[in-house]
Amino acid sequence: MKSMLRVSGLALASLLMSSVATFAGPKIVSGPGANPTCFKPWSDQTKYFQWEKKPGPYRIAVVNGFVGNTWRIQMIKTAKAFAEQPGIKENIKEFKVVSTGTDVAAQLGAMEDFINQGFDAIVTIAVAPDGFDRIIRLADKNNVVVVPFDNILDTDKVMMVNEDQKEMGRMSAKWLINESGKTSGDILEVRGLPGNSVDRDRHLGFREVMEAPGNNFKITEVVGNWDSGTSQKVTADALAVHGHFDGVFTQGGSDGTVRAMIDAKHPYVPMSGEGENEFRKQIADHYKDGLKGMSYGQSPALVAISIKAAISALQGNVMPQLISIPIPVADYKTLKDGENYWSNLSANFFAPNQFLPCGVTFTAPEIMAQSEANVK
C-alpha cells in the first residue's frame, strides 16, 4: 500500500515536472511581423512575439464580459460571421462564444475552463484592466494564445488589439479647433463609463490638445455613460445651465447629445463623436445648418481582427505585442450614404465595421440583418 502511494506520488511529481518542462509562452523576437498592413505595431517600441507553430485547424473561444448593448451584440454577431468566412473557416475546428457578465471571477473561470478544455486561443474583452496574471501564466504554460481587445489589460505579456483611444481624443479636439477656427470658447465634453480605461484615455487625449499652450477653452464636463439616453439627459442639463457652447465632444451616445441640442433649440455647432449610424445620419441631415460633425469609431469588428491575429500567432508568425487598428473616421465632407452610413436604416448600430486590409469585408447592416441562427 505504502509503495503504491509512493509510486502514485512519483507519477504525480513527474507529471508536474513534465508540465513545467513544457512551459513555453511566446518568444520575444525582433520585427517586422507578419501582414503589417493588418497587424500594425502600436509604436516603434512595440515588441514582437512568436509562438510555437501549431498544426491547424484550431479551437478558438471568445470570452465576452458584459452583454446587452448594441455594440456588444454587433461584436458577437461579427465574431460568428467572421468565423464562417472563407479563409478563416478552414482554420477553425471549433468556435465558442460565451458572455460572463460583469464578474471578473466568472470571466477568469471561463478562460481557465477553455484552457483546460484544450482550446488553442482565447479572444476576450477584459472586464477589468488588471487581475489576469494567473490566466496569462496558465495560458503560457499550456501554449494558449490569449488576445484581449477593446478593453485591454495593463500588461505587455499578452498580444492585444485595439484602436488608439488617446488619438481619438486628440483627433476630436483638433477637429473642434479647426472647424470653429477659434482657440477659446465654451466646450461641452460628454464622457463615457467612469473607471474605464477607454473613457480615461479619450479624455486625456482630448484635454492634451485643448489645454495646450495658446488655447483658452472653458470645458464643461458631464458623464453620459456612452448611452444615448443618459447622454441626451446630461447634455440637456448642461445646456439648461450654460446656455451656449461653441463646440461639443461626445464619447458615445452621440445621437442623444445631438437630440438634446435640437430639443433645446441650440444652434448647430462643430461636434465630434462616436460611430453610431444615427449620429452620422444627423450630421448628413444638418451639416448645412452648422452641425459640422466628425465621427470616429471604435469598431465592433475589432473582434474579427483579434481572431485573425490569434490564428496568425498559432501558425507561428511573428506578431506585434500591441496591434494598432487604424481609427475609422468620417466627417460631413466624407459621409456617403450606403457606404459609411445608411440613411434608410433606423436601428442604431455602429457604422464602421469593414477593415479591408484585414479581410473583414462585411458591412454593419449586413451583420445586423443576420440572425443568430443564420450565422451558426
Partner: protein, 397 residues
C-alpha cells in the same frame, strides 16, 4: 407555533453537522433518524442532489473531466460567490436582506490590494496638506499575515456596523444595508479610483491552485512530494478553505444559543423575545458574521485577481447572485429555516449552470435566456413542498 419553529432548527443543526444531537431529539435507529433529518432539511437535500447531478454531468461532458485542473478552476470561480452567499444567509435567516454584501466584499478586496503585496508597505495618507505615516507593514510572510487579519477585521467591523444600524437605529435591514453598502462602495472607490494594486505572486499562486502547488510554493511536505501527501495533493486549496470556514465558523455558531436565536427571530421574532432570547445580540451577531464571510470573499477575490477593483456593477451582481444562491440552497426568504451550507451548494449550482455554456454549443445571445429558465426551474424545485402540504395554514409558516 413558536415551539415547533424553535425546535426545528435545533434539530437540523445536528443533522447538518452529522454530530448526534443531544437532548432535543429522542434517539432513533440510524436509518429512521437519517430519513427524518433529510425530510427536515429537504431544501438542503434538494440542493445537494441537484448539484451532484448537474456537476457529474458537467465532468462527464468535459474533455478533461474529473481532473485536478478542472476542480481547481471550478473551486476558484465559486469561492467568492460561496462566501458572499454564506454572508447573505445570516440576515435572511433572521428574516432580513443584506444589500451590502457585494459592496462589503469589494471594499475588503480594495483594502487587500494595498496590504498583501508581500513587500514592506508604509500605511500613509495625506490630510489637510500634511503627510502622515501611520505604520509600516513589514514585508514577507508576517506582513501578509497581518494584512489578512486586517482585511478580515475590516469586513467583520463593517458587518458589525450594519448590525448596529439595524439594531440600534431600528431600521429595516434592506434599507439600512442599502445605505451602508453605498458607504462601503464609496470607501472602495476612494481607495481604488482605478483598478490596480499588487498581491504577492506566491500568495496568489498558492491559494488558487491545488494543495500540491501550495506545498511546493511554501516548501512544506518535501515540496508537496512526500508520499503520504500524494492522495491529498490534487485537492483545490479554495475547497479546503470553504470546508474549514464552514466547519470552524459556521457550525459552532449554528450550534450556539446566539445562532439558534437567529433562527428563532426569523420564524417569529415576537415569540423569540417572549421566550427570553437576546434578540439584539443575535441580530448583531448575524450581521457581524455576515461581514466576516463577505470579507473572506473579498479577500480571496483580491488574491485571485492580484488587484483591487471598486467595480460597482460587479458588486451589484454579487449581491443579487448571493440572494439567488441562498434561495436555491433551500433557505426561506421569510427567515427561520435553511443554512449557510445550503447556500454554498446554491452558489455551486448557480455557477455550474454557466459552466455548461463553455461545453455545449449554445447560441451566445440565447445564453441568458437558458440561464434564466434553468434558474427558475432550480428555484421552483424548492417550492414543490407546497404540493405536499395537507393544511393551507402550513404555508404561512
Amino acid at each position: 407555533m413558536a415551539n415547533s419553529t424553535l425546535s426545528e432548527p435545533a434539530m437540523s443543526s445536528a443533522s447538518m453537522t452529522g454530530v448526534p444531537s443531544t437532548g432535543l431529539v429522542p434517539r432513533r435507529s440510524f436509518g429512521g433518524d437519517l430519513l427524518i433529518r433529510v425530510r427536515q432539511n429537504i431544501g438542503l437535500a434538494t440542493a445537494i442532489g441537484l448539484f451532484c447531478v448537474v456537476y457529474i454531468f458537467y465532468h462527464l461532458a468535459h474533455p478533461k473531466g474529473f481532473s485536478s485542473a478542472v476542480f481547481v478552476q471550478n473551486a476558484d470561480e465559486v469561492f467568492t460567490l460561496a462566501m458572499v452567499a454564506m454572508a447573505q444567509t445570516l440576515p435572511v435567516l433572521a428574516a432580513g436582506l443584506d444589500l451590502s454584501v457585494g459592496a462589503l466584499m469589494t471594499m475588503v478586496g480594495c483594502i487587500a490590494s494595498y496590504l498583501l503585496s508581500g513587500a514592506a508597505t508604509p500605511i500613509e495618507f495625506t490630510f489637510g496638506g500634511t503627510h502622515h505615516v501611520l505604520a509600516v507593514l513589514p514585508g514577507g510572510g508576517v506582513g501578509i499575515a497581518i494584512g489578512v487579519v486586517v482585511c478580515l477585521l475590516a469586513g467583520t467591523l463593517a458587518g458589525f456596523l450594519n448590525g448596529c444600524v439595524v439594531v440600534f437605529g431600528r431600521i429595516q435591514p434592506i434599507i439600512a444595508t442599502l445605505a451602508t453598502g453605498a458607504i462601503y462602495i464609496g470607501i472602495a472607490l476612494f481607495l481604488r479610483p482605478t483598478p490596480g494594486g499588487k498581491i504577492d505572486d506566491d500568495l496568489n499562486w498558492a491559494l488558487t491552485n491545488s494543495l500540491q502547488d501550495l506545498a511546493s510554493t511554501v516548501h512544506i511536505f518535501d515540496d508537496g512530494n512526500a508520499s503520504w501527501f500524494a492522495p491529498f495533493a490534487p485537492i483545490p486549496v479554495p475547497f479546503i478553505l470553504i470546508v474549514l470556514i464552514a466547519l470552524l465558523v459556521w457550525v459552532p455558531f449554528r450550534r450556539s444559543v446566539t445562532g439558534r436565536s437567529v433562527y428563532a427571530i426569523g420564524s417569529a421574532e415576537g415569540a423569540a423575545y417572549m421566550s427570553g432570547l437576546h434578540i439584539d445580540r443575535a441580530k448583531l451577531a448575524a450581521f457581524t458574521l455576515a461581514g466576516f464571510f463577505a470579507g473572506c470573499g473579498g479577500l480571496f477575490l483580491a488574491i485571485q485577481t492580484s488587484s483591487g477593483n471598486a467595480d460597482i456593477p460587479q458588486a451589484g451582481t454579487y449581491t443579487l447572485n448571493s440572494i439567488a444562491a441562498v434561495v436555491i440552497g433551500g433557505t426561506s426568504l421569510l427567515g427561520g429555516t435553511g443554512s449557510a451550507i445550503g447556500s454554498i451548494f446554491g452558489a455551486l449550482i448557480l455557477r455550474v449552470i454557466s459552466f455548461f455554456f463553455r461545453i455545449f454549443d449554445i447560441a451566445p445571445l440565447l445564453q441568458p435566456l437558458f440561464e434564466g429558465i434553468i434558474l427558475l426551474a432550480a428555484v421552483s424545485i424548492g417550492a414543490l413542498r407546497v404540493l405536499r402540504v395537507k393544511n393551507t395554514l402550513e404555508l404561512f409558516r
